[in-house]
């Protein structure tokens, strides 16, 4: 039965997969069968429906979260209490300060740029010829992995020295050469390399922003638009005085959602630079400290920091939702 843990051939792997699914179905079948017995107390039924999910969440999310918070106050062996030392390191060390500044840059720029591009595009293609196709083009990056997106963009940024007989293979450097500039090592030169990484996330998230905002634009009642039109409002003024105020709640949701996603994103930095050349962000640094550099204490403190940074965004989001509900 060794293959259950160390399946090596495709056949074995699929077999293990089917066994796992069957096992799961069997367990759930028994749980539901018990909770559906006649004359069983109702709390057993509730338990049958809720307990599997609740136990998993306790085991895999809540309990580990407490352990991580505890470990963030301990040293690298995870046994000796050292107070706030890990946090002090994060906030005083020059290397970590770069990480924090980069993270701030990401969390501010990605949501604003994505929402901006998404909104512009949603307005421009709204009811236009070929709308559905035009939207799919922008939306498609949402479907692919961030790792794949990183490869796509790394190729765009690829650098070749500007010498006779050597051609550029990266599109962006080729454009620089075409217009008579020197090709650049886009991913190697801080601090501008951060912006080229951020561009990838904007490229991905704009599709999300566009979709949500487009739905918001389409739900603006027709009579408001018609009325504005009859008053001769059109073009930019229509956007400024009719569209924008109507979709404002959706814009807030989009920006906060993307900000939270950006905070946690790690794939892009990992794949494109590995966090070198002063491009690391908190989520990437967490991985390196925890699993590469053997500093679980610092890693835990960074994870807690991520959690703490998410909270104000959530609170703002909730407040805005309440405000817009009151207005209705």
């Amino acid at each position: 039965m060794d293959f259950l843990l160390t399946a090596t051939t495709p056949g074995q792997k699929f077999l293990v997969m089917f066994i796992a699914i069957l096992l799961f179905v069997a367990v759930m079948g028994i749980v539901l069968w018990i909770s559906d017995r006649p004359r069983i107390p109702s709390w057993v039924t509730v338990l049958g429906f809720l307990a599997p999910a609740a136990l998993l969440l306790l085991f895999g999310l809540i309990y580990p979260a407490f352990l991580t918070i505890r470990d963030s106050f301990r040293d690298r062996s995870r046994s000796d209490f050292i107070g706030f030392d890990n946090y002090a390191t994060i906030f005083s060390d020059a290397g970590f300060r770069t990480v924090l500044v980069n993270t701030a840059l990401w969390v501010v720029l990605v949501p604003l740029l994505s929402a901006g591009f998404g909104l512009m595009y949603a307005v421009l293609v709204d009811r236009a010829f070929g709308e559905k196709f035009a939207k799919t083009l922008i939306f498609l990056p949402m479907a692919i992995s961030m790792v794949g997106a990183s490869i796509i963009w790394k190729f765009v940024y690829e650098f070749r020295p500007n010498q006779a007989g050597i051609e550029q293979i990266g599109l962006l450097n080729q454009i620089l050469v075409w217009i008579g500039l020197e090709p650049q090592q886009f991913l190697l030169n801080p601090p501008t390399n951060n912006f080229f990484l951020i561009a990838v996330m904007v490229w991905i998230q704009s599709g999300f922003a566009m979709t949500v905002l487009s739905a918001a634009i389409k739900s603006i009642p027709d009579d408001i638009i018609e009325a504005a039109k009859m008053d001769g409002v059109s073009g930019f003024r229509m956007f400024r005085y009719v569209t924008l105020p109507s979709v404002r709640p959706a814009v807030v949701v989009v920006i906060t959602t993307i900000a939270m996603a950006t905070l946690k994103v790690f794939d892009i930095v990992r794949t494109m630079t590995g966090g070198q050349f002063s491009t690391s962000i908190v989520a990437n640094e967490f991985y390196d400290q925890s699993f590469v550099f053997g500093q679980p204490g610092i890693g835990a403190a960074l994870a807690v920091l991520l959690f703490v940074l998410v909270i104000p965004i959530i609170l703002y989001n909730i407040r805005q939702m309440k405000l817009s509900e009151e207005q209705r």
Partner: protein, 327 residues
């Protein structure tokens, strides 16, 4: 973003509302009644014309669409060019340096140093249970939260709702320690388990929202007929929830298929479990100049999610709008 039914306004109302919105010549009664005679479809056609009439707007949209597609196209096209051509010339010089081949795909899929065929199997084996298990568990929990009365229900639900904001990073180190001590680290089992756990808060929240949309009378009618919770769940709710389940299934599918962090943490060290994303990210660091492998490899990992996405886009958008967003 509710699409509330619009109550029909009289033309006078329209004009009045219009005045409040902005200064400008108020529409006349005659004009507005004329507008009213247009059907919705005709009105949309007129709108389309007025939009395209602004060349700058159209130009901007087209430029943006091109900007968004060219990078993908460039790499995709390059993945079919011979290795030597990719490494020395740009894909836009194709006509001076012609030549298309499937060699890159052949090498990356079956070459001994990459063996993406094997990784593709790993990705599929990881993804299927990691979609089925959390959806099933979340459906049951969502049902309990929506349709069974018990003490502390709303508090528990708020707790689950709040769990959505916990970054999964906070759970990774203790979970890995636990898996290692069980001797399960680096197996499919812990990858499935971890993905299932991390999916639950969002899944329960989303499916609960969809469940609350089902009319109470349907459930109560079934209850009056003497059906128990299990019977109601399978015979009344499940058939109605198929679109909702599809929405979340696509989400979870894309999330697991495209995931790097969970796979890297729990399966990164074992080539027999690691999915495509882990190996591509690794190749990007160790063999970053091998564009013939990176390009083909990247598209092998993208093809399935893109097909699923294009085929089921409708459900995906529905899930997005219902609040299903995961970082």
């Amino acid at each position: 973003m509710s699409n509330a039914p619009v109550t029909p306004d009289t033309p006078d109302d329209l004009v009045d509302k219009g005045r409040n919105l902005d200064e400008g010549p108020a529409g006349t009664q005659v004009k507005s009644t004329k507008q009213r005679k247009l059907t919705r479809a005709e009105q949309r056609a007129v709108d389309a014309k007025t939009r395209l009439a602004s060349p700058w707007a159209s130009a901007f949209a087209i430029v943006m669409a091109i900007l968004w597609s060219i990078p993908t196209f460039g790499l995709f096209f390059s993945s079919f060019r011979p290795e030597r051509e990719i490494k020395t010339t740009g894909w836009w010089t194709y006509f001076q340096n012609p030549g298309l081949t499937l060699d890159n795909y052949d090498e990356v899929l079956f070459g001994s140093s990459t063996n993406f065929a094997n990784l593709f199997v790993n990705t599929v084996v990881i993804t299927l249970p990691a979609v089925i298990i959390p959806i099933t568990l979340a459906l049951l929990a969502a049902y309990a939260f929506a349709w069974i009365d018990f003490k502390g229900r709303s508090w528990l639900f708020v707790g689950v709702f709040a769990m959505q904001v916990i970054p999964i990073q906070i759970a990774l180190i203790p979970l890995l320690t636990q898996y290692v001590s069980w001797g399960l680290a680096g197996s499919f089992w812990v990858v499935w388990l971890s993905h299932s756990i991390f999916a639950l808060p969002l899944a329960i929240f989303l499916l609960h929202n969809f469940m609350m949309d089902i009319p109470r009378s349907l459930i109560e009618a079934a209850r009056v007929d003497g059906a128990g919770h299990v019977k109601i769940f399978f015979q009344v709710l499940l058939p109605l929830l198929v679109p909702a389940i599809a929405s979340f299934a696509i989400f979870q599918f894309l999330w697991v298929w495209n995931d790097l962090l969970v796979a890297l943490t729990f399966a990164g060290g074992s080539p027999n479990v690691a999915p495509l994303t882990v190996r591509i990210a690794e190749l990007s660091g160790s063999r970053g100049a091998d564009w013939h492998l990176l390009s083909a490899g990247a598209f092998i990992s993208m093809i399935v999610p893109v097909v699923v996405f294009l085929g089921l886009q409708r459900f995906f958008v529905r899930g997005l709008l219902a609040g299903g967003v995961k970082g």
